[in-house]
Structures are given as C-alpha cells and as structure tokens.
C-alpha cells in the first residue's frame, strides 16, 4: 500500500461508482427493524439481548417495530402452540416485502422438548424461516449471531429477488400470497 500522500487528490465533491442493489442492500442491512414475536423463555433472553449488556442497538436495531407493517425481520422467540400458529402466519402475511424470519430457540425451530399434542413442531410448518438459532434458550450471544447471519442474507439480497419465480414458489408451499400483488 502506498502512502496517502501518493494518491492523486481530486478536488470538489467527487462521486463513487457502485451498484444500486449493493447500496440498497447495505442500507437495508444496517437498519433492520425487528418485530419481536416473543412468547416465552426465549423472549426473556431476547429482552436480555436488548438490554444494556448485549445491546442489539449496535446493529442498527434500536427501534423495535411492534407493528408488522413496518417490520423487516420477524424474530420468533419461544414456543408456538397450534392455537397460536394462525396468528403467527397472519403476522407474517401482514409484513411488507422484503421480509426475513429468525427462529430463536429449539421450540420455534422444531418444537424442542415439547413434542406434545398442543405445540407446533417448528414454525417452518407455517412460515418460511431464514435463520435458525438453536438452544433452549439460546444465549444472547447466539441470538446476536443469528441476527448477524440475517444481516449477511440482507446484504446479499438481490433487488429483484422478491419478484422471482423461486420466491413465489417458496411462498406457494406455505399458501402465502406475496403482498402488494
């Protein structure tokens, strides 16, 4: 690497070339608005990661969006029972595109230790999931790791991905219509 003085200096405002989708993706990734769908124990750990020690606000997630309409990321933390499953699906459908789903904890991912008549055996039976975080409950570090994995996905999200046939086919499997269409 040369010294900074060696670089040719441009005067004026300058410009930078980049691809539009990368700019948008970078902006998106640094301002993900999460919707915490916290039901049980994992919700308390999620509260822990919101607290001052772990502080998810460092990742541009200061603002919890309790309305699904403005949310980008659905964080499902805790057991989802069969009674709650339709509500979860409705919340997911209400979110605007592009949207991501983080499944926190064993219960949300697979039913966990609750292989019982009343518990949904993993939320991926009703909505598509992007990242799974294992643990019962996962530590805040793990939750943050999951969130960073989501950020990676957001950074590499193509601008037209959500209009693609693959995406439509994925949602068709869950009987979910792409909103706004």
């Amino acid at each position: 690497m040369g010294k900074i003085e060696d670089l040719e200096v441009f005067n004026g405002e300058g410009y930078q070339l980049s691809r539009l989708d990368k700019v948008i993706a970078a902006a998106r990734a640094n301002s993900v608005w999460p919707l915490p769908f916290a039901t049980s124990c994992c919700g308390i750990e999620y509260m822990g990661s919101m607290g001052s020690n772990y502080d998810v606000a460092r990742f541009g997630m200061e603002r919890m969006s309790f309305s699904p309409r403005q949310a980008d990321l659905l964080i499902v933390a805790g057991t989802i029972s069969k009674k709650l499953a339709p509500i979860l699906k409705q919340v997911y459908e209400q979110m605007s595109e592009p949207k991501w789903v983080l499944s926190v904890g064993a219960c949300a991912s697979s039913g966990g230790i609750f292989d019982t008549y009343s518990v949904l055996q993993g939320i991926d039976r009703v909505i598509p999931v992007d990242v799974y975080v294992p643990g019962c409950p996962p530590r805040p570090e793990q939750i943050i790791d999951g969130i960073m994995k989501i950020h990676e996905l957001v950074k590499h999200e193509g601008i037209r991905n959500r209009y693609s046939e693959e995406y439509k086919a994925k949602l068709d499997k869950y009987n979910i219509e792409i909103n706004g269409k």
């Binding site: 069969k82 009674k83 039913g111 292989d115 019982t116 008549y117 009343s118 518990v119």
Partner: protein
Amino acid sequence: MASKLTNEAVIERIKGQFGSDILSSETPYDFLTIEVQANKQHEIIEWLKKDEMLKISFLTNLGGVHYPEQAGREFAVVYHLQSMVNNFRLRLKTYVSKENPEVASIVDLYVGANWMERETFDFFGITFKGHPNLVRILNEDSMDYFPMRKEYHLEDATREDKDDRFFGR
C-alpha cells in the same frame, strides 16, 4: 408457624357434621385427606368455608385425576383447601364415573374456581354443574378429545422423523 388445628380435631368436627357422607379419611405425609360423596362436596365445602372454628375459606387448588382401571370411579376431582387463619390445609376428593363425570361447580363459593374448573374440563372432560361458562380454556375449541386422559398420546401425531420404537409410541 405451627397449625392451631390438629388433623384429629378437624376430622372429628367434619364427621360430626356430615357423618356418613365422609367416605374415608387418611393423613398421607401429615396432610388430611378426606373422600366425600360426589353429590355432597359442594355442601361440605360451603360448610367448611362458613364454619367458625375451622375457617377453611381459601381454595388453593383444584384438579382432576384419571384412574382408568377403577371401574365406576374413574375420575377424581381433588380440592386443596386452606385456612389461612388457622394455617391448616385439607385435601378433599370426590370420585365420579366415566359414564357420568359430573360434579357440582363451586364457582358460587369461590370465584377463583372458575378457570380451575374450566381447565379440569379441558383436560379430563369432567363437567361442573352450574358453571357459568364451561368451555375449553387452554386448548383449541375444535379439539375433540380430553388430552389428560390416560388413553391419549402425549406426542404430536404429525411428527415423521421419530422412530416409534424408540419413543414408546
């Protein structure tokens, strides 16, 4: 804090009032347990609540138990009652049959019994006569069986990744 009442004194007083309605009494782990006739439990609980000496006027817990092999008395309804003044606890049991699992509701005596009775109905299908709103509480309304009965499986039936041989199904 020791209790002001002894098990013997309490059972004597209850038997003095109700006599043959008290089918049996025992004290497992020093906890007075009485079994009463199914159609009498409301009357007894009401009397216990009003009795000046016992003052057993707090409902701690209410639940059901399923004994499928006991013919004619398959379901037990268990009331845990308590006297905060005398620091005394009492367990009251009553048995009903599977053909007619019905006992009188005690919501008129204890408002707090409302959900406990609904839960017992939800789990065991025991009905409480006189309950204002006896519907399922924890499970979905569309559920067509009573999951805590011994004959029903615990596991979710839609799982395909488990080998039945290893899970006792």
